[in-house]
């Protein structure tokens, strides 16, 4: 699946990925790949502008942490992010049901 298929969907996918557990950029990308069984073929760098944008919008928070001697930026879902994710999940389910009803 090409990156442009993901237009508008990358942000909620990232929110869903960190909903259970905080993670740094590389780990978020790995989770995206694992959960989609490798279906999302996006330029890996594009995840970082999205992370920064979500943080600016108050949906994610981030902090430096040290892991195995390496400093890395770890992202967590905020309260506003949790609420936004719920809204996007409901919207997606409605959309998917409608598409399925038409496409069969």
């Amino acid at each position: 699946m090409k990156a442009d298929t993901l237009n508008g969907q990358l942000d909620p996918l990232i929110l869903a990925t960190v909903a259970d557990q905080s993670a740094h950029g590389y780990a978020i990308l790995q989770r995206l790949k694992e959960r989609s069984s490798g279906a999302f073929d996006l330029a890996e760098g594009t995840i970082y502008p999205a992370l920064h944008r979500l943080e600016r919008d108050g949906l994610l928070s981030s902090a430096w942490s040290t892991d195995s001697g390496r400093r890395r930026r770890v992202y967590s879902l905020t309260r506003a992010g949790t609420a936004a994710l719920e809204v996007r999940r409901r919207e997606w389910k409605r959309f998917a049901l409608a598409v399925e009803a038409v496409m069969g």
Binding site: G25, Y26, E44, R70, R73
Partner: protein, 357 residues
């Protein structure tokens, strides 16, 4: 040169601050350390830097407009408090009773004219930022317009507070100490707020966006003004606004002072000030047409073009396709020529019969 070096250089070229640049590069370095050799999958560093810069430029311009509006609101409260307390408890001392006329006139100009400029420019900047709050990346021209309005508003706000301080100094021997202390102190606080807002503005205006698109103007912000004939005659709008300002404030002054003569004087002054403001600042706040985004004809043919020139040319071509002047094949061919154009001559050739370049 490594992928990270390329990214860092591109971010710097687009004006991303050292702090943001450091964080971005550090995160990408960590990403590469997790899986050495994955640089190819990270994408083109130039494109990634542009994405960061476009989004940051948009967010910072909006933030700067909102912060400035807040700082101007504080300055407005200070001005209102100064005038209410002066009228009720201290009384106007009369213009000739101060230390010097040379202090009085700049003070009054700062307190009468500058707040109006700050109100118009600051409101337009904040309104555009609010209207476009959901856009991830605004066109570069639109970001420039928001920043320009913000800059005008900040300058006028600071001029207002300087005017208040000059007034305090001019009448320091006539007005009560409590009023001088209160108003002088509040003006300093409001001035510091405006300086803080100015710092956010400086941060916003250093980031370069590459997103193509129209800047828009005052007619987009105030749809009630969006009549085609008025948009095509911006000077008529200036004259209309000047007359309206003159009549409104002239009538107010005549009522407040119980004097038609005073009203006429004030009305004429306000009308002239509004007209001068339109001439001097109309373009900066988007009330007059923005400069063309194509290279001016004064450019020499072999002058090198910038990315923003190519973006403007691309927009012209897309508009040409949208209104039926170009076929899809012609559009593709000309877009390709625009992207490869290095000089003004090459760009003009790509735009032949489409734009007056």
């Amino acid at each position: 040169m490594s992928w990270l070096d390329d990214l860092s250089r591109e971010l710097r070229a687009h004006g991303v601050s050292a702090r943001d640049r450091g964080r971005i590069v550090h995160e990408l370095r960590d990403h590469i350390a997790c899986e050495p050799g994955c640089e190819d999958r990270l994408g083109d560093p130039h494109a990634l830097a542009i994405t960061f810069a476009d989004e940051l430029a948009t967010a910072e311009a909006r933030n700067s407009a909102f912060v400035t509006f807040g700082a101007l609101a504080v300055a407005a409260v200070v001005l209102i408090v100064s005038q209410i307390t002066l009228a009720r408890f201290a009384h106007y001392p009369g213009y000739s009773n101060g230390i010097s006329i040379a202090l009085f006139f700049p003070a009054v100009l700062g307190m009468l004219v500058a707040p109006q400029v700050a109100l118009v420019a600051g409101t337009l900047a904040a309104w555009r930022a609010l209207r476009r709050r959901r856009a991830v990346s605004l066109p570069a021209g639109e970001i420039r317009l928001i920043n320009s309005r913000t800059r005008v508003a900040l300058g006028a706000g600071l001029a207002t507070m300087v005017g208040v301080e000059l007034y305090v100094v001019d009448f320091s021997q006539r007005l009560p100490a409590w009023w001088l202390g209160l108003v002088g102190g509040l003006a300093v606080v409001a001035g510091l707020g405006l300086f803080a807002a100015f710092r956010t503005h400086l941060r916003a205006r250093t980031i370069v966006s590459s997103t193509a698109g129209q800047a828009g103007d005052i007619y987009d912000d105030l749809p009630v003004l969006g009549w085609g004939w008025l948009r095509a005659r911006p000077w008529f709008l200036g004259a209309l606004a000047s007359v309206a300002m003159g009549l409104a404030l002239g009538a107010f002054e005549a009522h407040a002072e119980h004097s038609v003569f005073e009203g006429v004087q004030r009305g004429m002054f306000e009308g002239l000030v509004a007209a001068a403001g339109f001439v001097l600042l109309g373009r900066a706040i988007g009330a007059r047409p923005a400069p063309a985004h194509l290279p001016p004809s004064a450019y020499s043919p072999d002058q090198l073009v910038a990315d923003s020139d190519r973006a403007g040319a691309e927009l012209e071509l897309r508009e040409g396709y949208a209104d039926g002047r170009l076929t899809l094949d012609e559009l593709d061919a000309r877009l390709s020529a625009v992207n490869q154009a290095r000089t003004v001559e090459q760009l003009r050739a790509a735009l032949a019969h489409i734009a007056d370049s």
